[in-house]
Structure formats: C-alpha cells, structure tokens
C-alpha cells in the first residue's frame, strides 16, 4: 500500500503541562496527537513512579505524527513549553497511510 513519509515526535512531559503542550502543538498546525500514560521513569531529575500519585502529578507521553516539513515548527512550539520543565523530546522517521490527514 502507498505510504508517505512522516515524522513521529514523542514528548515525555509532566502531567500538569499536558494541556499547555497540546495547545501549543495545535497552534503550530499539528492535525492530531495521541496521549499515552507513563507509569514511571528515571532521568536527571531522579526516579519516579506513578503508583499512589496524589493529584495531577506524574508524566505523560504525547505522540504526534506530522509531515516532515512541519517538524521544525512543531519542535519550536514544543520546546517553548518543554524547555523550562522536566521532559524529553525524540523524533523518529515514520511512514503513514493517508498523507492528506497529517
């Protein structure tokens, strides 16, 4: 089946920032995103686990498929939100089925 090049951006960020990040992504012209739960992790700011979390804490993983030419705009938008906070951004080359959707 015909596939089209795309970029898959994965952002792990603190849960209280979730809506700020997705708002920034939408403003940067992203057509969609998927939010996945994260149950724990480790990084420069230490180790954490979701179990028994009080309130809106922990982290989430926001995943975004976009046309390659939109990547830079998205990263800039995401970076503004992520930069002052705890979080990690990674990008992978991907292929998608229906290019017109991204």
């Amino acid at each position: 089946m015909e596939m089209h090049s795309a970029k898959r951006v994965s952002i792990v960020i603190e849960a209280p920032l979730e809506s700020r990040l997705t708002d920034a992504l939408m403003e940067a012209g992203v057509t969609g995103y998927t939010i996945m739960p994260v149950t724990g992790g480790s990084g420069r700011s230490g180790q954490w686990t979701r179990d028994g979390q009080l309130g809106r804490s922990g982290m989430v993983n926001v995943i975004c498929l976009i046309k390659p030419e939109r990547l830079d705009g998205l990263l800039k938008a995401a970076f503004t939100v992520v930069e002052p906070h705890i979080g990690v951004v990674s990008v992978t080359d991907a292929q998608v089925l229906r290019a017109e959707r991204f």
Partner: protein, 325 residues
C-alpha cells in the same frame, strides 16, 4: 503537660496513624506494596466529597452564625500571609535559594485536607464540636498562598509571572471544585440528604481514611528515601517550626473572630498544615525551576507526619488552655 503527652499517645495508637506508619515503614524497607494510582484518586475523591457534604449538612442543621464570613476571611488572610512568614523563616535558617524558598512557602500558606480530616476525627473522639463551615474555610485557603509565592518571586526579580490561564486553573482545580460543590450540595439537601447517603459518607469514612493514609505513608516514605542529601537539618527544623507558628497565628485569629473551641483548633490545623496536592501541581507550571524534591519532602515527609502525630494534640491542648475549654 502530661495531658498533652497522654493526648498525643492516645492519638498515636489510632488505626489512622498506624496505617500511615505502616506505609512509611513499608516504603523505607523497599517493600513492593503500592496502591494503584486510580484507587488513590478514587479515595481522595471520596474523602473530599464526604468531608464537603458533611460540612454543608452541618451548616444546614446548625445554621450559619455571623462568624462564617469572618472565618472565611481569616482563612484567606492566613493563606495570603503565611507564605511571607515561611519565606522569611526559610531565608533565615536554611540556605535555600529565593526561588525554592518561595515554592516551599506557597505550600505552607495553603492547606492539607487530610490533616484537616484527621483533626476532625480527633475532635469527634473527644466530643468537641466544630463549625461545619470550616470546610469552606479550608477550600478558601487552598489557592491564595500560590499568589503570594509568585509575588515573592517576581519581587526578587525572578520570573514569577502567572502563566496564562493559571489563575483560572488554580481556582477551578478539581479538589476545590469538589470540596465547594459537595459543601453546597450538603447545605442544600441538609439532614435529609445526609441521612440518605450517610451509610456511604459517614460510616465507612474512618476506614477509607486508613487506606488513604497507608498510601500517603508509602508516598512519603518513597520521597524520604530519594530526598537524602537534598533536605538538610535546618529544612527539617523549618518543617516543624513553621506549623507551630502557623497554628499560633490561626489561634489568634480564631479567638479574635470568636470561633468555638473546635473551630479554633480546626483553624490552627489549617494554618499549620501544608499542601501536597494542589500547590505542587501549580508550582510545576508556575515555578518549574524550583526543586519538587524539596517542597514535597518538607510538606509530605516532615510537616504532614508531625501534624498527624504530635501537632494536632498539641494544638488542641494549647487551644484548651487559652480558651479555658
């Protein structure tokens, strides 16, 4: 004095405190005992709903006396004011940067609803009534402290501006909405409403609180294990001194506005307690460069257990001495 010790001892061997201790011990011993996130959230929704509803129903049946507004006002004043005291004290006795000190200060102006609930249990056991609307005071105290902390940071030249939408987010924060909402429902439906759902929100309440405190013990224990090297002795001293100061401020205001003995104790507890739900989330957004390990460890690992075990009996004893009750 021996009265205080007796009170404290009796308090210490309640199922609630021991459940917290069990959680703490299990986490420190690195047991894999955990409470799933969804269950913990479910229990906190239950507790907020129950405490709000019962407060409202109590107002409905005892009537609103003139001090309601004064009490809410006092709460707001405490929440705005205590962060300045906390900030000053922290800068005086610890080496915390202004940013971290401000973040910690926000927590001590705000409140811990579980400490509030534990206080209610202690009063109930001793048959001391308190004003039902203290729940409303608790809700009113959640947010103002955050604004004071941001102002402290801005004044110091730091980036303490409100992120757009943050104020709205803080005020419409789930726990405030649920507490205020269920308070109103309790007030509207009154005794009759309470009778209808009492087997859910009254009878099993203490038991749910045990499991919730077990979880808080687990979280506090995990936090303490990771905070080694970050939290210093002067900070721990702050975590015990600050609630004492807070409680005395609460005492003064409570006496001035004419609350009952129970009401005074509850205001002391609110002033003495530190937030670990609403404020940490707000700090992640508003002061992301502040270190969460510091403020969470102080509020959840030091002040919370102190209040739960020794603090509450001490505040009660002081209030009884002062009011002659």
């Amino acid at each position: 004095m021996s009265e205080i010790v007796n009170l404290a001892l009796a308090n210490l061997i309640s199922p609630i405190i021991l459940s917290f201790a069990l959680g703490l011990a299990a986490a420190l011993a690195r047991s894999d005992l955990t409470i799933p996130e969804a269950v913990a959230k479910g229990m906190s929704i239950y507790l907020l709903f129950a405490i709000g509803f019962k407060g409202g129903a109590s107002v409905a049946s005892h009537g609103v006396d003139g001090t309601l507004l004064a009490a809410v006002g006092a709460g707001i004043v405490l929440s705005f004011g205590l962060p300045f005291v906390a900030f000053g004290l922290l800068r005086l006795i610890t080496r915390l940067e202004p940013l971290d000190a401000a973040a910690v200060a926000a927590h001590y102006g705000s409140i811990s609803i579980v400490t509030f609930v534990a206080g209610t249990s202690v009063l109930q056991e001793r048959m001391i009534d308190s004003e039902g609307y203290m729940v409303a005071v608790a809700a009113a105290m959640e947010a103002p402290a955050i604004l004071s902390a941001l102002w402290l940071v801005a004044r110091g030249g730091g980036n303490g501006k409100m992120a757009p939408g943050l104020l709205r987010e803080i005020m419409l924060n789930g726990s405030i909405v649920l507490l205020v909402g269920s308070f109103v429902i309790g007030m509207v439906t009154g005794e009759k409403g309470l009778a209808q759902i009492a087997p859910f929100i009254v009878s099993p309440f203490q038991g749910v609180l045990c499991l919730f405190l077990l979880d808080m013990g687990l979280i506090a224990g995990r936090g303490l294990r990771q905070a080694k090297g970050i939290v210093t002795l002067p900070m721990v001293a702050f975590g015990i001194l600050m609630p004492m100061i807070g409680s005395l401020t609460g005492l003064a205001l409570g006496v001035v506005i004419g609350l009952s003995l129970g009401g005074i104790v509850m205001l002391m507890i609110l002033a003495a307690s530190a937030s670990y739900i609403a404020v940490p989330a707000a700090m992640r957004v508003a002061l992301p460069k502040a270190n969460p390990a510091i403020y969470l460890t102080l509020s959840l690992g030091v002040t919370f257990p102190f209040n739960l075990t020794l603090g509450i009996p001490i505040y009660l004893a002081i209030a009884q001495t002062v009011t002659g009750g």
